[in-house]
């Protein structure tokens, strides 16, 4: 009996297999933890990106290339806040990943997750984009430019591997840990930005005020006396000695109403003011001190590493 055929489906199947082959040209197996390898993407010549959580040690790192050869690599840097780690290997060995346009993704688009675990060739998983959203912040506190969730099954070792579109272009790297059961993908623009900082400095410099704050509600009488139209603010509860806030003259008990002209009511609002490469800039803090409105200037410092 002759089997019915669909040229459209045959073409789609071939296209998906082609996307795996193209995407796999620039992926390596990363050996940086006991047992199972994880996957890395050759993002810039000599620089491999993977998820920070899969790089359990700082030394004795190796990567397996697409030709099956296993070579040495070194840790260039890590950014736990976005779960990105970058390894350095010899240049000129592999093509670098072709980046796609994660901004054009819509729920329903077909995607593939790729992995390389050893010298037996690439592995693939398939699914659809489930959710697309705006910028968000994972537990680590970093800035992720875009939310990309898919129903792709991230099998063991797929962490750090690329999410590719049906043409094999890389949309980002998959992080298995962030939002099960969905697969979370760190978008390519976030990876490129973090990689740029890790490549030049070895770590991601993050702005730091050296003060802890908690949300408070100003009393109605105080608000009306000062002519304030809202009650939400941040109370300074501790200040690190010799930190940026101490140097700027911030005091415990100050109630911060606005930073750089933007109202603040949640700690998240402060993190937003520190997003990006803000170290060395001056922030103007509008606050209530002793029942009066005052302004304090704080020179943004650099967050101590490991915080």
């Amino acid at each position: 009996m002759s089997q019915p055929q669909s040229q459209t489906l045959i073409d789609l199947s071939n296209q998906l297999a082609g996307a795996v082959e193209r995407g796999a040209e620039s992926i390596v197996a990363v050996h940086a933890r006991p047992q199972l390898a994880s996957t890395g993407v050759h993002w810039r010549d000599g620089l491999v990106v993977t998820t920070n959580g899969t790089v359990r040690r700082d030394r004795d790192l190796t990567v397996t290339l697409s030709n099956g050869k296993r070579i040495e690599a070194t840790l260039q840097g890590r950014d736990p806040s976005t779960d990105v780690a970058v390894l350095r290997m010899a240049t000129g060995l592999l093509p670098v990943a072709t980046l796609g346009d994660a901004g054009a993704l819509r729920p329903g688009h077909l995607v593939l997750a790729l992995a390389r675990l050893d010298d037996t060739g690439p592995r693939a998983a398939f699914g659809a984009v489930s959710v697309i959203g705006g910028a968000w912040r994972p537990w680590g506190g970093g800035e992720i430019d875009r939310l990309i969730l898919s129903d792709v099954n991230l099998y063991p070792g797929f962490g750090g591997g690329p999410l590719v579109d049906p043409s094999g272009q890389v949309l980002g790297i998959n992080s298995g840990r962030l939002s099960r059961p969905y697969a979370t993908t760190l978008p390519a623009e976030t990876v490129s930005r973090v990689l740029g900082q890790l490549a030049s400095r070895g770590y991601v410099r993050r702005g730091y005020l050296g003060a802890t704050m908690q949300p408070v509600e100003l009393q109605h009488q105080l608000r009306s006396r000062l002519g304030l139209d809202r009650g939400g603010a941040l109370l300074v509860v501790s200040i690190e000695p010799d930190g940026p806030s101490a140097a700027g003259g911030l005091l415990v008990g100050d109630v911060i109403m606005a930073i750089a002209g933007r109202p603040v009511a949640e700690p998240e609002d402060v993190l937003k003011a520190l997003d990006g490469d803000t170290v060395g800039r001056t922030l103007s803090l509008e606050l209530v001190r002793g029942g009066r409105l005052e302004q304090v200037e704080v020179l943004i410092g650099e967050r101590p590493r490991g915080h």
Partner: protein
């Protein structure tokens, strides 16, 4: 010619049987051995039989008595002979090629997961080769190759076909390991059909 996926799946369904009883039952693929219809399934599905006879159901739910010809435990494959009457109801499957498989290509599985007859699932080839650790839970040795697929399988899919997007059998779905579907490659089935006399008699 162009057609929809359901038409392709329906044509494959006519080549798939349900194998009873067994703990959860299983599936089997109808093949032609020189014009005579036989069923290939997993050894672990055929082991559910008492004696050398098994009851099978066609896709139209017609029951037949099949006789176990061979059980090749190291490959986890078995071959069943069908009565001549079965040819009124069943068609032989077309065999594909394991050597040309590429990760990413579309595949379908047909079986009876949890007894749900003739269920179709879709996915892709994940990789082809040895699977570390699989030999601990399978009679197949660590040196034998598997087709790994990113596709949903459940008990009752065992012995059923994994087919390519043209409906050609590329493997016999055998187990789920590490969340992935593992299928015995069609090359092993060809070997069973050709050198069946060297296999272990049931």
């Amino acid at each position: 010619m162009d057609t929809n996926l359901d038409v392709i799946a329906a044509a494959v369904r006519a080549t798939v049987v349900q194998v009873l009883p067994g703990s959860s039952g299983g599936a089997g693929v109808v093949l032609s051995r020189g014009g005579e219809l036989v069923v290939v399934t997993n050894a672990h599905v055929a082991h559910g039989a008492t004696g050398d006879r098994l009851r099978i159901l066609s896709h139209r739910r017609t029951a037949y008595r099949a006789v176990i010809e061979w059980v090749d435990a190291p490959r986890d494959l078995a071959l069943l002979a069908l009565p001549p009457a079965a040819s009124r109801d069943l068609s032989p499957a077309t065999l594909g090629d394991t050597a040309t498989l590429r990760p990413g290509q579309l595949v379908l599985a047909i079986g009876h997961p949890f007894g749900l007859a003739n269920a179709v699932t879709a996915g892709i080839v994940h990789s082809v080769g040895q699977v570390r650790g699989a030999w601990e839970v399978s009679p197949r040795s660590h040196k034998q190759s598997w087709i790994q697929a990113d596709i949903m399988l459940a008990p009752g899919n065992s012995g059923g076909p994994l087919v390519d997007i043209q409906g050609r059998v590329i493997g016999i779905n055998t187990m789920v390991f590490g969340g992935l579907a593992l299928a015995v490659p069609v090359s092993d089935i060809r070997a069973l059909l050709q050198a069946g006399s060297e296999a272990i008699p049931a």
